[in-house]
């Protein structure tokens, strides 16, 4: 097993109290697996991604364990995590466009970073240049300032830098959200290419865009209101989802080639619950068409068929 997350709980501190952003998630990502992490804004996917590498100042670790390649990651300890960062777990952040120091040449910054991490620039730079070439950037990039690059170029640069030390786990946080469709395709394919070439072992791709995930992800993990809803292979999630939330999500996607003159494009009515005082039991029950009295008790995230996990009373195989 490459990554094992066990009952991870991370809350956000606010003056009004703790926001239960991530409330007990358990899942695993295998070696070589690209797992998509999907859900609407505020569901906790970014919190999950970030808690695996760097805690924001407002995030507070509550409980749970994270194990990568058999070693426990001390996610609550920012100093302790340093030896794992970049080397074992790395991230392409949401703010990749502004992630580079504007007053330092890219090559110089990378060299500073490598040297500070105890990696010889002389050894690493040839590989760096090779990889830049791979993503379609010329060597000259290293001599430029971030200001001289376009947004797409900056993002690709960050992708190369983040994966330079061949981490076991790469977290890609909303990296396609700000891009146009064709660039999205290019970037997604680059990600897969990284995995195929062995630059990264496994990946968690965070996005709200299921279409992208369908293209590149082996498995998709759907989150709702700080908890896990469903996990299955990409194909299964799209074609035969079982959790009511996932099913509504899929059905609310516009289909290419279909004209919506007669049917209205429906979203899912209602809004996710506030996480300051999360509701008892299943958090989707207020919006779920299948809700019943059972749902007042929190459904466990169980494997209903091979490699397919769902958290829903209606769909566990208790009665089958």
């Amino acid at each position: 097993m490459s990554l094992l997350v066990d009952d991870l709980k991370v809350y956000y501190r606010t003056l009004a109290g703790d926001v239960h952003a991530l409330d007990g998630v358990t899942f695993a990502v295998a070696d070589g697996e690209i797992m998509g992490l999907a859900g609407e804004s505020g569901c906790g996917k970014s919190t999950l991604g970030n808690s695996l590498i760097r805690f924001d100042t407002r995030m507070r670790y509550i409980d749970g364990h994270v194990t990568l390649d058999g070693v426990e990651l001390p996610v609550w300890d920012t100093v302790g995590m340093n030896e794992f960062r970049f080397d074992k777990v790395s991230i392409v952040p949401q703010y990749a466009m502004s992630a580079l120091n504007p007053t330092r040449k890219i090559g110089a910054m990378t060299e500073d970073l490598l040297r500070a991490r105890g990696v010889s620039a002389r050894q690493a730079f040839p590989e760096l240049r090779r990889r830049l070439d791979l993503v379609g950037l010329s060597d000259d990039v290293l001599e430029m300032f971030p200001l001289e690059l376009s947004g797409g170029m900056k993002q690709r640069t960050v992708m190369v830098i983040s994966t330079l030390l061949n981490p076991s786990l790469l977290i890609a946080d909303e990296i396609t959200s700000a891009l146009d469709v064709s660039t999205q395709k290019a970037v997604s394919e680059t990600l897969v290419g990284f995995r195929d070439r062995g630059f990264v072992k496994s990946m968690i791709v965070i996005t709200h865009d299921l279409a992208i995930l369908y293209q590149i992800a082996d498995t998709i993990l759907v989150m709702y209101a700080g908890q896990l809803a469903e996990k299955a292979s990409g194909e299964t999630i799209i074609s035969s989802p079982r959790h009511p939330y996932t099913r509504l999500l899929i059905s609310s996607l516009p289909e290419v080639g279909v004209r919506y003159t007669d049917t209205k494009l429906t979203g899912i009515p209602g809004t996710p619950p506030g996480l300051l005082h999360p509701p008892e039991g299943c958090r989707f029950r207020d919006r779920c068409p299948l809700a019943s009295a059972k749902c007042l008790k929190e459904p466990p995230f169980v494997e209903v068929e091979s490699d397919h996990y769902v958290a829903c009373w209606e769909d566990t195989s208790w009665d089958s």
């Binding site: 501190r13 606010t14 003056l15 407002r58």
Partner: protein, 311 residues
């Protein structure tokens, strides 16, 4: 921009840098929430109380003073005492320091509010117009701002005030106002830029609202908190500039101000004579007032900018 207190580089170089990139103070979700944070912010509470206390003193003081500020009482160089109401003692020439002090304090408030207010208004008009209408208007206003910015306005004030025979507090305030606005204009222009390019303005435009409506209903509420903070800094800065001008001898005629008290005390060798009650209180008052204004400003920044709020 966190902790970006855009302090005035007028009388002291505190944070002139922040002028370039102001914070985007997002509108809070209601007056109630703002008030809640406001009352909890120690810096704001401290600054506000101190300023209010001084204001109260300035208002009430002249009424309880037992002598006129310029009156010669015949009791020379008296140390502070309760007899005769000379709570702050008297000057070398026999004038009541307490009375002078409260008069000066009042003038400080007046010059601060007026001078700061005028500078804020000019800065807002120019900065906002430049930010909202780019192009030639922006270029022109920019040039104007740069020129006024570079001119050492203090020296300019010196020259202007030196030529005037009779000087009033209003004049002083107006002069300070019309020379201190450039950095405020710059900061407000930058803030306007960032607001204008924000989505909600585009939305308003798309929905067909007129320019005027957009300005007043969308942009102004966001700017108002920032503008208020600017005003506070200009207020403090004006007080310092006025005190310096007064000290050089360019203060208002026929009255006494804090800066003038310091000037007279130095001229009359109060330092050598150890008449500390004459030269200490005026400077102390300015330091307390301007200091509490600056601290209040930091507090306000934290209240208006949710990202800065400490948990």
């Amino acid at each position: 921009m966190s902790s970006s207190v855009p302090t005035a580089p007028l009388a002291s170089p505190a944070d002139p840098s922040q002028v370039e990139e102001p914070p985007i103070a997002a509108p809070t979700s209601g007056l109630h929430e703002t008030l809640h944070f406001a009352l909890r912010n120690k810096k704001l509470v401290f600054g506000l109380s101190m300023t209010s206390a001084l204001l109260l003193f300035a208002i009430v003081g002249p009424f309880i003073a037992q002598h006129g500020p310029l009156a010669y009482t015949g009791k020379l160089s008296l140390a502070p005492t309760t007899k005769g109401g000379f709570w702050f003692g008297t000057t070398l020439l026999g004038q009541d320091v307490f009375s002078q002090f409260v008069t000066g304090l009042r003038l400080a408030f007046i010059v601060g509010v007026l001078g700061g207010g005028i500078a804020a208004i000019i800065g807002m008009v120019i900065g906002f117009t430049a930010g909202y209408r780019s192009g030639i208007v922006d270029e022109g206003l920019n040039m104007l701002t740069n020129v006024v910015l570079v001119i050492p306005t203090f020296a300019l004030l010196l020259v202007i005030a030196a030529y005037l025979q009779v000087r009033g507090i209003m004049m002083e305030a107006v002069f300070i106002g019309i020379t201190s606005w450039p950095w405020a204009a710059r900061a407000l222009r930058a803030q306007t830029f960032s607001l204008v390019s924000r989505d909600f303005v585009d939305m308003a435009r798309l929905s067909g609202r007129s320019s005027r409506q957009i300005i007043f209903q969308e942009i102004a509420p966001n700017m108002s908190s920032y503008l208020f903070m600017m005003f506070i800094l200009l207020f403090g800065g004006a007080i310092l500039i006025a005190a310096t001008l007064d000290f050089i001898g360019l203060g208002p005629s026929n009255t006494i101000s804090l800066g003038m008290m310091m000037q007279l005390s130095v001229q009359n060798a109060a330092l050598q004579l150890h008449l500390w009650w004459w030269f200490l209180p005026p400077g102390l008052a300015i330091m307390a007032l301007v200091g509490s204004l600056y601290v209040m400003n930091v507090g306000l920044d934290e209240v208006f900018n949710p990202k800065l709020r400490e948990l």
